[in-house]
């Protein structure tokens, strides 16, 4: 979903910012739309190895032979051994809540954790450790991507965005428009 950050132009119609709204556009919309699923801030540090997890929505891929890393959007990273290309094997899942991208250098894995940049020690792939959290380096996207329509505005005090669900919205104040 976040592979292509392709929804670009998000116009947020706040009640008081009526001047920005189109003339005939009502300021609040009701109907089917999207609602953020929050990951509470205290769960962002729940970083750990897990057994094999289902692949739901892939993202960034990274090959560091013999290991292959594949992002699971907002959840973590699947790690495989591809030394035998005919029989790749699942090694472990790195649980990193709210992750949307990462890179690797040496035995360090760098990933986003909502607004923070995380550094993980992956020397032992089966026992990863958080080394540092560099706060407020990243600007997450605060609207549903690849989507045209109304959505419930993001309330960051409730946590990081872990996904979006389709629901009926009463008087939603945000919409994407591209």
């Amino acid at each position: 979903m976040n592979l292509c950050h392709s929804l670009r132009y998000c116009f947020v119609f706040f009640l008081f910012a009526f001047l920005l709204a189109c003339e005939k556009e009502p300021l609040l919309h009701s109907g089917m739309g999207k609602k953020p699923i929050y990951i509470p801030h205290n769960e962002l540090n729940d970083i750990a190895n897990l057994p094999q997890q289902e692949v739901i929505s892939t993202g960034t891929i990274f090959l560091r032979e013999p290991h292959f890393f594949m992002l699971e959007d907002r959840r973590g990273i699947h790690v495989y051994d591809v030394s035998d290309p005919n029989f790749p094997t699942y090694l472990t899942f790195l649980k990193i809540p709210a992750i949307t991208d990462f890179s690797i250098s040496g035995n360090r894995l760098y990933a986003d954790s909502w607004r923070d940049l995380l550094t993980l020690d992956i020397t032992d792939l089966f026992d990863i450790k958080v080394i540092s959290r560099n706060e407020n380096q990243l600007n997450p996207i605060l609207f549903p991507e690849l989507y045209n329509g109304i959505f419930e505005c993001v309330d960051e005090s409730r946590g990081a965005i872990g996904g979006w669900e389709d629901v009926y919205l009463e008087e939603a104040a945000c919409q994407t428009n591209n």
Binding site: L3, C4, H5, S6, L7, R8, Y9, V55, I56, S57, T58, G59, T60, I61, F62, L63, R64, E65, F68, M70, Y80, V82, D84, P85, N86, F87, P88, T89, Y90, T100, D101, F102, S103, I104, S105, G106, R108, Y110, A111, D112, L117, T119, D121, I131, S132, N134, Q137, L138, N139, I141, N148, N178
Partner: protein
């Protein structure tokens, strides 16, 4: 004077051997073509929607922010080729110089179109040519027009890249190349399209394209390709480009 120096520098850069290096490759590994993070030597470059942030990794345990370059909104993908940063955004190709790796400078920005265009635009670079897939969804008066293509730029002059050709596609995603063959994931056709790019001015679709369900991104390493889909990845033997063979698969 500054420009003259820059030109001399560019000539020096171009006179270096061209590498057949694919995407973001360093000693540590290789990413696909769709990512917002890239590590190069002792620096990491990270995209926000309208910023390129440079982190020093001189202490790899604690990346330090050393530079912020502000751009227009819409940054999507970043790769490094030949000591140069290439960024795909929704409506432009950015080229950044990193002769001073702690402070990237904008060399050029090739605008593609109007503000209503939307894309998803990974880039790969080979020699003096950049290949980018674009997905354009044009919403005019509520009528949605999707125009997607593989576009080719001549980047010999990094200060002034020239758009040279484009090839229509369905819903292109990630891409990579092996020699003179460019492999492009097309999620609309459920194909990985194989183009002959021996003449970048006239890319030719070959008969070697092969079916992959919902392909997203690709890493090419030697004689093998790893291709990710929404819900799985698969390895391919690409030693004989005319006869690409599936190897192992993991996923659903």
């Amino acid at each position: 004077m500054r420009n003259a120096l820059l030109v001399i520098l560019l000539i020096l850069i171009f006179s270096a051997c061209s590498k057949d290096q694919n995407m973001s490759l360093d000693n540590n590994g290789q990413s696909g073509s769709i990512t917002r993070f890239v590590v190069h030597n002792d620096y990491m470059y990270v995209l926000n929607l309208n910023e390129v942030k440079t982190f020093s990794l001189s202490d790899p345990d604690n990346p330090q922010l050393v530079n912020v370059l502000t751009t227009d909104f819409g940054l999507e993908t970043i790769i490094i080729y030949d000591e140069t940063i290439f960024i795909g955004s929704t409506n432009a190709l950015y080229i950044l110089g990193i002769d001073q790796p702690d402070s990237p400078v904008l060399l050029s920005k090739s605008d593609r179109g109007e503000i209503l265009l939307e894309g998803c635009d990974p880039v790969v670079v080979k020699d003096h040519f950049a290949y980018s897939t674009i997905k354009i969804i044009n919403n005019i008066c509520g009528i949605i027009n999707a125009v997607s293509a593989l576009v080719v730029y001549d980047i010999e002059d990094k200060l002034n890249p020239v758009f040279i050709s484009q090839y229509p596609m369905n819903q292109p995603n990630g891409l990579g190349y092996k020699g003179n063959y460019l492999l492009v994931c097309d999620g609309g056709n459920h194909l990985v399209e194989v183009f002959d790019i021996s003449n970048p001015h006239k890319v030719v679709l070959t008969d070697y394209s092969f079916g992959v369900s919902d392909p997203v991104d690709i890493i090419i390493k030697g004689e093998q390709a790893i291709i990710s889909s929404k819900k799985e990845f698969r390895l391919y033997d690409i030693s004989d480009i005319e006869n690409i063979r599936p190897l192992g698969v993991i996923g659903k």
